[in-house]
Amino acid sequence: MAKKGIEVRELVKRYSTKIRKGFLRSETKVIEALRGISFDVHHGEVVGLLGPNGAGKTTTIKILATLLLPDSGDAFIEGYSVVKEPHKVRECIGVMLTVEKGFYPMLTGKENLEYFGRLYGLKGNYLKKRVEEILDLVGLKELGAADRIYEEYSLGMRARLSLARALLPNPPILLLDEPTLGLDPPSARRIRELVKNLVRKDGKAVLYTTHNMFEAEIICDRILLIDKGVIIASGTPAELKKLVRGFRAIVLKLREEVIANKLIKILNTSGYEKISKIKEGELVNVKILVEDPERELTTILKLATSHGLEIDYIAIQEPSLEDVFIELTGAKE
């Protein structure tokens, strides 16, 4: 009996692309989007594929959805190979790609769903009932959007409709590529809650990509950290945080980026290594991971004031997934 859920084995994908060197000249360059990734997703869990832009998340989803063929390796959906049995795979998956398009603009949400439903072999009264049910589930009915044409939909409505289409044939496996990217908070929350429910109640297996650490932490049972086509760590959010156990974060808020850069330079020369910089509105956050923040704080403050740098706000925090990511990749931003 073949294994259920999603099984990914040593997937490798390279793209060759042209680097433009002027008006006519160009050079072919090979981009290694996936460098042999392997993982499993079981029924009843949401697994997050978390990584920055260009990490290879969409490439992974496309291969699992049979829209792209790997250069080597294979993946199995409910036991079917995405390379050798793409038709069987397609019967088991619901897919959400970019949320801003993907429907017929002149058709209403309901008509769009009915069209795609028919392409999945649903028909007659069952189709009608199912479409109503799903429109209600994703909250498009309460927004009064079911009978409006797609062209007029907000991004939040589009994302909801896209999830609705993925759920229409009630597939056991969901492949969701950044389903909440750019959405308004209520839509994003609705989608996360729905996904969670589908996993708890129906035991679906969900692969959920995101670059949002906060989101990954609240929705995923397990997280795979992906960077430059490699899975650099995996585990539950709590397990991942253990990778930086013993460390806590000192967060300094500063007014200007120049000041932040100066501070980072000073800290670097004084032997602090785990430093990251994140912009937050007007302010710039500088985060330093240390083992004993209470003690280090005074040292850091002394360093800053002796160089005449003004600090607006100071806090000590438990490490977040972001810190894990920075710790593992060495990324500074």
């Binding site: 793209y15 959805a65 049979t66 038709h87 069209y115 028919r118 392409l119």
Partner: protein
């Protein structure tokens, strides 16, 4: 659940008619289409030579000759556009990947997709052109128009294989959509829509013999434009056209499948 071919056709019908009724420009375009095209074809046709020269070479009424051409063109454009250009639209709308995700081959859906427009266009062309022919040439000509439409529809269906290959090339070429606007008029010209193949240089004539559309045009012209059409010749044309279709359709399906796999290997499908 796997959809049957009928399911796909039903889906396409609903999609097409909703959109059609909702876009006023589409309705106007359909109403104007036969008139505009007939005028255009007559214009292009007369540009290549005088009507006198035409009459020496081809023993037919030029007006009816061009009428037959436009009718066949109208109907065959449906196939070229619905299969070829469909990829362009679907990619722009972002629906193409989702169509490739349905649990049956994409080619099957593509084969189903032109049927609604083909049906509507054929009916409309008959409704417009049959009365015109009756007024000009009498009831016999009207009947010929109806028959011609049926042949043209068959001819359009015979075009499916080639259209699939064009569609496959379009997705593989990743953004080189403009090729399509070159291929399209080229095919139409070679098959003798604008200008009779009999008046073309020999190499073009040989090329035109490989296109099923050429036979449809030939047959429909004989039917409509000549006083006493020779049924035997018409039948030969229809048979040749069908034979080519039997050859091209599986070839088109195979080639399309190959091109789709190539696209997926290269990562060309844009989302």
């Amino acid at each position: 659940m796997k959809p049957s071919f009928i399911d796909l056709v039903v889906a396409e019908f609903k999609n097409f008619f909703i959109e059609f009724l909702r876009r006023k420009s589409l309705i106007i375009a359909l109403v104007m289409y036969p008139y505009l095209l007939t005028a255009l074809i007559m214009f292009i046709g007369t540009m290549f030579g005088s009507l006198e020269y035409f009459k020496q070479k081809i023993p037919a009424d030029p007006l009816l000759f061009f009428l037959a051409s436009s009718l066949t063109l109208l109907i065959s454009l449906v196939i070229i556009d619905d299969i070829g250009a469909r990829f362009i639209w679907e990619e722009r709308m972002g629906t193409l990947p989702y169509l490739m995700l349905i649990p049956t081959s994409t080619a099957k859906l593509i084969l189903a997709s032109p049927i609604p427009r083909l049906a509507l266009t054929s009916c409309w062309v008959i409704a417009v052109l049959a009365p015109t022919a009756i007024v000009i040439k009498g009831v016999g000509a009207g009947l010929a128009v109806v028959l011609t439409c049926l042949i043209a529809t068959l001819g359009a269906l015979c075009f499916v294989g080639l259209a699939l290959i064009i569609g496959g090339l379009l997705i593989l070429s990743r953004g080189e959509w403009s090729i399509y606007w070159v291929i399209r008029p080229l095919i139409l010209f070679i098959s003798g829509i604008f200008y009779p193949t009999a008046l073309m240089p020999i190499w073009l004539r040989i090329l035109s013999m490989t296109l099923p559309l050429s036979y449809a045009i030939e047959a429909s012209r004989m039917l409509i434009a000549f006083e006493n059409p020779e049924m035997r010749l018409i039948l030969i044309n229809v048979t040749l056209m069908t034979a080519l279709a039997i050859l091209y359709t599986p070839l088109g399906l195979k080639t399309y499948a190959y091109l789709e796999v190539r696209t997926k290997k290269l990562g060309g499908l844009r989302i």
